[in-house]
């Protein structure tokens, strides 16, 4: 008999109905914007990452699908000479939990926006943000907060200063904790310590609306990051006039989650009182070139399992259907 709570929760009538309804509504929203569904196999035979659920199929080590973006990228790179521009997905991924309360089986709906080499990706970023802005309404969330960040705000100064991978990882970990004192401590004795600490202070200025972008003018890397700041400013100008009434848009300059993957703008959707983000995404232009394809890509994933948990624990955050 197992003595620990399994991480494969069964969905009873209410959550099962809610999952079906949300999946249909989200896939409908994506289809209405030109996104076509791809369904990569649940069983992966590619290189198996550490966090995946693995087992032997005869003599062969296989893994359950652990991330749609990675599974789709492999499929697209192998099967499509030219990239489809809009792809959607829905289903479960299986990942070993980092925290003891996380489930292994997680339900997701998401999309990928792919642009061939040479084409501008600015419009694609705004398109994804607009889609994400529509999601609280589709899910019946009474209110939500959209955080907009940009991975390049941290990545480019670290690269410019030539920080080694270990030291860079420590700085990123300190930023992830929003701990400027840790950044200073980590960089003690490094020639770029003063500059990078000042940059960390600018990044960690209080989360706020679009005015937060102004904090970067105090950074020693303001000139280096001019293009990224301009990109964020243009996106904000495009999004603010169409902001739904129950959605707040915040600029989060210190968003470093997934920094080894994201290369540009990032988006995270929260509900007030939620302990975890409900959807997340961004630009990851290094993924396809790493697979031998000169394509740029961005996308987001709606974490339906977290939404199902939230609907159970905080039903007051949702409109009644």
């Amino acid at each position: 008999m197992p003595v620990r709570t399994p991480h494969f929760p069964d969905l009873l009538f209410g959550p099962a109905e809610r999952l079906r309804r949300w999946e249909d509504a989200l896939m409908g929203l994506l289809a209405a914007h030109g996104y076509r569904e791809l369904h990569p196999s649940l069983v992966l035979r590619d290189t198996v990452p550490d966090g995946a659920l693995r087992f032997f199929d005869g003599d062969e080590l296989v893994a359950l699908r652990w991330d749609f973006t990675m599974a789709l990228a492999g499929l697209l790179a192998r099967r499509f000479p030219e990239p489809p521009d809009r792809v959607s997905y829905a289903g479960a991924v299986f990942r070993r939990p980092v925290q003891p309360w996380e489930a292994v089986e997680r339900f997701e709906v998401g999309c990928e926006r792919i642009t061939p080499e040479g084409e501008s990706s600015t419009e694609a970023d705004v398109e994804l943000a607009r889609l994400l802005m529509a999601i609280p309404g589709v899910l019946g969330l009474k209110s939500a907060i959209l955080h907009m960040g940009n991975a390049a705000l941290v990545r480019r100064p670290l690269e410019a200063e030539g920080l080694g991978p270990e030291l860079a990882a420590e700085v990123v970990a300190a930023l992830s904790r929003r701990a400027p004192h840790r950044v200073a401590q980590t960089l003690e004795g490094h020639p770029a310590a003063a500059r990078l600490s000042a940059h960390a202070q600018a990044l960690l200025s209080e989360l706020d609306g679009p005015a937060s972008l102004g904090a970067l003018s105090a950074s020693p890397y303001a000139e280096l990051l001019k293009e990224e700041v301009g990109h964020m400013d243009r996106a904000l100008q495009a999004l603010l006039p169409i902001l739904p009434p129950n959605l707040e848009l915040r600029v989060d300059l210190a968003d470093v989650a997934g920094l080894d993957f994201y290369t540009g703008p990032t988006l995270r959707l929260w509900a007030p009182g939620a302990q975890q983000e409900l959807a997340a995404g961004g630009r990851y232009d290094r993924l396809f070139p790493g697979l031998g394809r000169p394509w740029k890509a961005a996308g987001f994933c709606v974490r339906l399992s977290r939404l199902l948990d939230l609907a159970e624990t905080r039903p007051d955050l949702f409109e009644q259907p």
């Binding site: 904790r177 701990a179 840790r182 929260w270 007030p272 302990q275």
Partner: protein, 214 residues
């Protein structure tokens, strides 16, 4: 359904003893009557905000899981557990050193030269990191309290433990042979609460900062 009450996790023990007087007279002062009882959830002077009194080693888990929105804990504990939470400020108080301590007369070089070094500690992560930096190997003897006894009774060659005044070490005939790191109280926050409810959480964090950072 209204938004749930906000819980702030405060440490019991050494840090807690320093903390309670600093909060007196602030909006987060702990209810004196409740403090005298054995109750571990204490009302504060702000309605809807309660304090949880927790052991330092358990505290980060309550915050990382979002049960408590804010907390105060020593950086030594944070470094050992490496939980996913925000560390908003170094509060400065509760300062101490994480040190390698051995019987008086035993030098660091003598410890280094041991073919099989045994170190007793409740800080295995920090100890392993130091051993890696120093290019040493050792057998770690995990202890949760009274580590000072280990070298006296032959359980270990030395200990890695927190040292504040050095009084306990002296009482057991031990001396510091190396400082591995420094620790102080940190203001921590649940990532979810801080990012999704800034209007509720940030003013409380600022109140704590104003009271505790002086």
């Amino acid at each position: 359904m209204n938004a749930p009450a906000i819980l702030i996790a405060f440490p019991k023990g050494r840090l807690g003893d320093e903390l309670v007087p600093l909060l007196a007279g602030t909006p987060l002062a702990l209810d004196a009557q409740a403090l005298k009882s054995r109750v571990l959830r204490i009302p504060t002077a702000t309605p809807g905000v309660s304090a949880l009194l927790l052991k330092g080693a358990d505290l980060p888990r309550y915050v990382a899981a979002g049960v408590a929105s804010l907390g105060i804990v020593g950086s030594d504990t944070l470094d050992e557990l490496d939980m996913d939470l925000l560390e908003l400020a170094d509060l400065g108080f509760g300062a101490c050193r994480l040190s390698l301590c051995a019987l008086a007369g035993v030098s660091l070089d003598e410890l280094r030269a041991k073919p099989h070094l045994r170190l007793a500690t409740k800080f295995p992560r920090a100890t392993e990191a130091w051993l890696t930096r120093e290019g040493l190997t050792a057998e770690l003897v995990p202890l949760s309290s009274s580590a000072e006894l280990a070298p006296l009774l032959g359980l270990a060659d030395a200990i890695v433990d927190l040292v504040q005044t050095g009084g306990t070490l002296k009482a057991h005939g031990l001396v510091e042979t190396a400082v591995l790191g420094r620790s102080s109280a940190r203001l921590v926050a649940a990532r979810g609460a801080y990012l999704s409810e800034p209007g509720r959480i940030r003013p409380l964090a600022e109140t704590l900062l104003a009271a505790l950072k002086g």
